[in-house]
Assembly symmetry: D2
């Protein structure tokens, strides 16, 4: 069909595992499993279900024909009704959905999608943290120019910089863990949340209705549940989900921005997959396309966060469906974008390159400026007058900066000028020693790398399969 | 495929016309037309193109095989390169894309999609304004209780209320008209916006490069163009587009919210299509599903506005592709959501019902309260003392309100109490006359309806085909 | 001064306690305490500090002259430098801020403001939960019409509806508790996060630098800390803070929206303070100004969430100040808005009224429709044919609905019509019994109220002072 | 008072002119002028107003005591009522506000604030465009490396780059002009928009009520007006205002981002005011604090845009005050932030420096890579075999890139290597000529500068006073 439009996030960026969770077919299967679980629970609690009925449903549950369902919906104008009819027609029975309203189905199944997608995000996030830890450890002791205001400030190490962004991601993953642990399902609460319909089905025995709900939560694998809920679970819960995704993505965002900056200075590259256009023809072009894409995904997540926030705190009475179309878009697409972001991040962490020689050149360009206070201290120790030495250093530093900007010199020759100035009483070798010592002095940077690596190892120990995850091939 | 995910906005809500603009196939065709237009322009301006080449391209331009293109992209890691190869292989030549960079193609073709989609939105918006005007005219003189703070305030007419939301939409459509009139294309500016590559192609003749660009703008049908542009057009232009869509949707949003409120009071209903589940079983259920959906679409648009705003003012140097994934999602999806919103709005405007009897009942419940100042004035005219009359009215009004809240009375019997109070010297018939007069007195409301209808007629006169547009069937 | 502009959130809505945390004067005092704490720590760890110096600082620390500080800033163009000079001039010494960069001060002090403000928000949120619990318990067994799509759906109780919004808030408060428990301070990490300056101050003894940091965290009262941090703490942490505020506010938002709807049906009122304009003149006007304001505050919070999200994941290298002006606005104003929201919510919870008689009238209007399935069941039990009974009920229900909309009847007389129809074999008293039973049957609603009250009690037991909090007077 | 909190945007960043528009005192004065204008209009149209009354109001209209007004509001709980009482007590009469509701005052006066603030923004925006034009003209012919993906791409000129951001701003200013031209006032429409109260005041003569409204619009200086409006003007109009501010700010945002990048490469600096801390001690530190601030202001504006969007399309019936607290914050603060942004931008445009020598060095580093296709073409002309030449160039280019990254060479010596390779048959002087020619070849960049300057001149010719505006001193 000429006007078919695929979901671009699914098609271009997300992985099969995440797509399967959100696909039309995947959802229909989750729903059918859910209906069967409810039916079994009802039977076990005393509702008569003729022999063979459950088996009939189970036999056909994987026969998903989305076109047929859509055909029914165009008649009934009711999506759940359409899916009930389809499933019942396939099974040849009408036993599912007893005492249930649409939301008893859809709220819980959508929460199941969210919950499983959160687990998937956690898995890949831990893999990414593992990647940050590996890279940080590799570069633990490579001194580099730390920048504030995008300008040289002090010495750090490449590893510390990487650990810094990793630690930001770690904060997000901790929030994700807390969310997963507390995420509550709505449960089987009926049309307005009072459990009336199931209680009626059990002839007024509300203990049985609660027991059925317990079984359903067990089926979902979600441990917490809501209680005094309406037709829908509070949409602020969706906001918490999307805001947590945005949080987890933030360390990646900062890392990607900084890697783009570093590529502009030729300090590093995100690396290239084989066959990518442009690399050999323009060997200087270290395009940070993947990092740019990570930043793009983050902007997307913030847009879905705005949608989620737009629904929060807007419940009228026991609820309505003004959120419906929003959640159909926002929930899958936020997770698909997050999935794309994590795949891209993992790829960058795998392929990135640091150009140590250029890192060193950059450091030597700025180090003399960064160490002027040390030079002053040493000059005074060596017998120079404080005021004279201070004045001399300031004069030369300003002159060098000016000469570099006007093109008089192309390298930082501050050391040579200082060595030649008698006011300072410091020879070239003394100045070189100051440089060598200053270059190596990145404070606690290496220890901070160790600490970050340690924390990631603790997390990986709890989720060993996650750390082993390897991203698929990205576009 | 089990994990196929369609674009839910396209599949469930948008129309074929809007889908065709944004579909993968539709875009490939727009691109091929564009390449051919450039090639023709180059030929006409002196670049040698062998006979038959253009014809070869034209012959195959509708043979779109998205899977084959995606296959190529997985090899080249470059989407435009993949599409060039595909088209050239089909045509058996390599003449397109001469002197062009990817952005010379994609920026302009995407702008063409935006521009044509804006025209489509204008068409349906004018149809909706026409619907507002019809409904407002029909209800021009039906008095009703206007509410502020969701509580009865003064008399208005149903038609005026409808015109009020129509006028909000009209403001948005005027902004849309201004945007369409000024929307500038990027043009054929090369990799960094200097037109260097086309100038080089024309052996340094920049006049020819400009002439080629003129022809391309003509092909696009866009009259304005950017000049000192970089690799990309400023992304704030996308923000203006999405914010204008959100603006146009705002009148619909307010209207839908209010119709949901009115349905809660049984004053009106959005109407029902035949076959819709729930109406006969629960005849009191006037579910405003379509209006809720309109509000949902508006939340979605605001989320895409956040994405568009996230890109604005973030251009690094001459540009990069950090916006790419965002625009792949935001631009089509904002227009698809807008399309769905307008289709839903048109359907509601076609099917809505006003229950005049209930409107009248509601008015009679509040009118005595609303007219107490008139009663006071008339009582004084009839000889009552001002202070005594004021006190009497206040006493009774407060008592009636209290009695209604405590269930002592179920109807507003303020008039009877006032008639029975000798302090006021007003008989029941005098009070009835005040009510009758007050009920009919909605100030300029009918004239405001006329004025709105007049303005819509002016607009429709310029776009007669738009007003004739009829929405498709919605889910 | 004619152009003085106060912070409207502080001036009109926030409480003195919250204002004190964010006022210019309050912040200067927090900073001075912090500097003194650092100085003491340095002294205790071996940095020489002459006798009397600390005392001199302590003596003047409450002498805050904001105009004088601003005067200095206009000269130095550096806000921290200005505040150092002011404090040192007052004390007559220059010992503070040793080995510190601006961010060693500002990051930690701002985090302290955030942390204390979070505690303040928690206190009032628990008070609000306590208010929800009280109201829910009071109305535990008052049956009412639950609405979905803003239309009557099933029976619930007023208490359950209140508990429902309380439970939404409870979810937010649990997220707030998790945030408070894990909120990490940046600590004394120097210009680029390596702790170099403090290590240098301690002659290379990094253990001492870490020990100093431990003392500072203790001074702040914040238990967690960041380690591999740059010049700034990750701004995604601010996003988590503002998103948690927005989450906590969501239950209030839904509650306020619903109370506005209920006031429109005269079912309830947010109550009025004495002296408020408008109530006696227009006794029907139950304007929900405070609830509208709560919804307004929520929109404001979502705007600050957009600002916070705008900063997240945008760190360049070790950081810069592009976030500075944003955080100066967003952090105080988000907390001031939250404070205003909570004060308003507490006032509404204190003053709201439920009009039970109107609630009952509304229920009796819809209950016959809601119980048609029960009527059918009983009719069959009483001997009616299922098909005939179903047809009869449907006919009458549709007719009543139509007659109500067309004004033929003003009350729901479905029961009378059913009693008169011989096809059903049900007398008026049997139908009345069905109504009485149906009205009382709100499923688990009362138990859900109990469960909510229980959970709030558990929380209050941990924070007894919070539950005792009484809001100030609001505008 | 220890907890006084000023509006940080007003206090630190905005100018007196903008502050005066939004200050409490300024607004009270605008309101009083408005009331007097209404009173005069009513008198002229026949409403009796005793002699001397208007004069009494005029005499006291500048006596603004905000504390006294707030004192009254704490009693009345109604802000407009408090301000009426204050003004009337001062004047000794009670003639203002006749036939008016609060919104007849506040909607129009707030729109007047918005309208005048838009004019102020236009003035400074034109001044900024003028600054862009001056800078672009100055640097029209300075060749520089254009970057895409933050990496060298082609040659442009510094002036073209500046014009590019100027042109983005120009698009925003055109949208601003359209908004100013079409901005409609609500007018004197009464409590629910029907003009009932004024019509009643004029004894049913609605022509007089309309005539009064015309006079009021004239007083406001706003030419357009709404007609079928409710209690409030549509809040989507506020969204259009804030989105237009965000649009105008976008060119500044992109410019500031790019200047921050350029400072990181020492190509340019935003310049420094005298006395600023840090410049002499660290002469390499070209901190882009002002540019960072511009980006911060833009994030703030996007947050206020989210607030404005949160109100759009959310009108319930004829309106309520759920928007009130939002608009109290968003409208002033968006304009104050915009004012701060424009002041900062104007300062940067005044003080920025371009370091031409470094720009030249950077260009020479990348130019050999950028011109490899020209080298190939010339080599073939000079007799080399195409395949051999292509292979040679590619070999050398990749080798040079690798050697630069590994530190083998610190400068780009591709030219020397090419000159030494016999496969190419090009001598050093031929290669130098290619470089010289390529360096000078920035396509239409200079012409694009001219075109931008021309368009700004046209605009300045219409607003000559705007272009002359000089920013105040910034922090």
């Amino acid at each position: 069909m000429t006007d078919a439009i695929s979901n671009v996030l699914a098609e271009r960026y997300a992985t099969p595992a995440m797509r399967a969770l959100w696909s039309g077919e995947g959802k229909v299967k989750l729903e059918r499993d859910y209906w069967i679980a409810v039916l079994k629970g009802q039977r076990d609690l005393g509702i008569p279900v003729p022999d063979g009925v459950i088996e009939s449903y189970e036999k056909v549950k994987d026969q998903v024909n989305l076109a047929s369902i859509m055909e029914r919906e165009r008649v009934t104008r009711h999506d759940v009704k359409a899916r009930i009819e389809e499933f019942c027609d396939l099974a040849g029975h009408e036993h599912i959905h007893k005492g249930m309203t649409s939301r008893d189905l859809t709220e819980n199944v959508e929460q199941l999608q969210v919950f499983r997608a959160l687990l998937e995000v956690r898995k890949k996030s831990i893999a990414a943290l593992s990647g940050f830890a590996k890279r940080a450890a590799q570069c633990r002791d490579i001194p580099m120019t730390a920048r504030t205001h995008n300008v040289a400030a002090q010495v750090t190490t490449v590893g510390k910089r990487i650990a810094m962004f990793g630690e930001e991601m770690l904060l997000g993953v901790e929030a994700l863990n807390a969310l997963i642990a507390s995420y509550p399902a709505r449960g089987l609460k009926g049309a307005v949340g009072t459990r009336l319909d199931q209680i009626t089905l059990f002839n007024g025995d509300s203990a049985k209705a609660r027991a059925l709900e317990e079984r359903i939560l067990h089926h979902l694998g979600i441990h917490a549940s809501l209680d005094a809920v309406g037709q829908v679970y509070p949409r602020s819960l969706d906001m918490q989900v999307v805001s947590t995704l945005t949080h987890v993505a933030s360390g990646a965002g900062s890392f990607a921005k900084t890697l783009r900056l570093m590529a502009g200075h030729e300090l590093a590259s995100e690396g290239f997959a084989k066959g990518q256009v442009g690399s050999s023809a323009m060997p200087h072009k270290m395009n940070s396309r993947s990092c740019e894409r990570i930043n793009g995904f983050h902007v997307i997540l913030k847009g879905y966060l705005a949608m989620a926030a737009g629904l929060a705190g807007d419940q009228w009475n026991e609820g309505d469906v003004s959120c419906s179309v929003v959640r159909r878009v926002m929930l899958p697409d936020a997770f698909l974008a997050m999935d794309g972001l994590l795949e891209t991040l993992l790829t960058v962490l795998n392929q990135m390159e640091v150009f140590e020689a250029v890192v060193e050149q950059e450091l030597m360009r700025y180090l003399p400026f960064l160490l002027t206070t040390t030079v002053l201290m040493e000059a005074v120790k060596a017998g120079a007058g404080r005021e004279a030495a201070h004045e001399a250093i300031k004069e030369h530093a300003v002159a060098v900066a000016r000469d570099m900007r006007t093109g008089k010199v192309s390298h930082n020759d501050l050391l040579a000028r200082l060595a030649a100035d008698e006011r300072l009483a410091l020879k070239a070798d003394a100045l070189d020693a100051i440089m060598a010592q200053g270059k190596a002095n990145s404070g606690d940077a290496p220890q901070q790398v160790d600490h970050f690596v340690f924390r990631v190892c603790e997390l990986v120990a709890k989720h060993p399969e996650a750390a082993a995850y390897e991203p698929g091939s990205i576009l």
